[in-house]
Symmetry: C2
Subunit: 143 residues, 2 copies
Amino acid sequence: MSMVTHEERLRSAGLRVTAQRVAVLDALARQPHAPAEALHAGLRERVPGIALPTVHGIVNDLTAAGIVRRVSLPDVGRALYEIEADDNHHHVQCVSCGRVEDVPCAVGAAPCLHPSHDHGMRVIEASVTYRAICQQCERNGNV
Amino acid sequence: MSMVTHEERLRSAGLRVTAQRVAVLDALARQPHAPAEALHAGLRERVPGIALPTVHGIVNDLTAAGIVRRVSLPDVGRALYEIEADDNHHHVQCVSCGRVEDVPCAVGAAPCLHPSHDHGMRVIEASVTYRAICQQCERNGNV
DNA sequence: TTAGTTGCAAAGGCTTTGCACGCGC
DNA sequence: GCGCGTGCAAAGCCTTTGCAACTAA
């Protein structure tokens, strides 16, 4: 998959390489669409002393550096994070269990929709969220 | 515009008609994409005693009843509300000043994208957020 | 009358702030 | 050694909860 190590990503963004930042990136690679709390939990083995506010600080720095993307979905009251991938993908979200999966853009690398009325704004990117029911929830009758 | 009064909307949803609910709907008609706090501020003249938690309760009830839609946008740390319109529109958001405008769906009334990989989920709806720079911000050099 | 609503204080959940200490470069 | 990063307590912001008082039907 990734030819580029976490360390290289950090260096080329001008950020110092610390155990905490590398561990956050590792956790993100393992669990995409994770909230800060889940990353924190997945980290505590590797970096025992780390505190939740530190994880928030790190994901903020990484987001500002363009290494990480913050995803905010309807009815999810907290930010989810994923490693920035440059593949213009979007998200499907089960309205029942909340599971989130990636959806490659239907058209290509460019934003896959063109607004018919852009109110004079110059569009930078489009993000699409599909709200859906996953098979398990449908089978279990969780509508 | 609206042939249907707020009162009628409430009644047909099986909700009691109260001054507070009508005032919230009025405020929403005046200011679309407003957070609960702004609705509360816009209401205090008309319904002096109303408290912010009450506004939250009302928009929640109206959202559950399908009269109001909750909109959650990237980098907006709180929910915005608008009157449910059944016109399948989406949103453009200026990344600089935060202004939000409606965007009619580019393709039609149906969700305008078909996920190439739906992970076995049955898609209910698609919501699209365009991130953009508005003319004012671009002129003022607020990139 | 009475079940649905409201007022509002208090609590809850996520995130940011602040500053002393620590460590990458 | 210099500064950027981290640890973590405390604060901040938005939203929900809980319950007594109220009111639409």
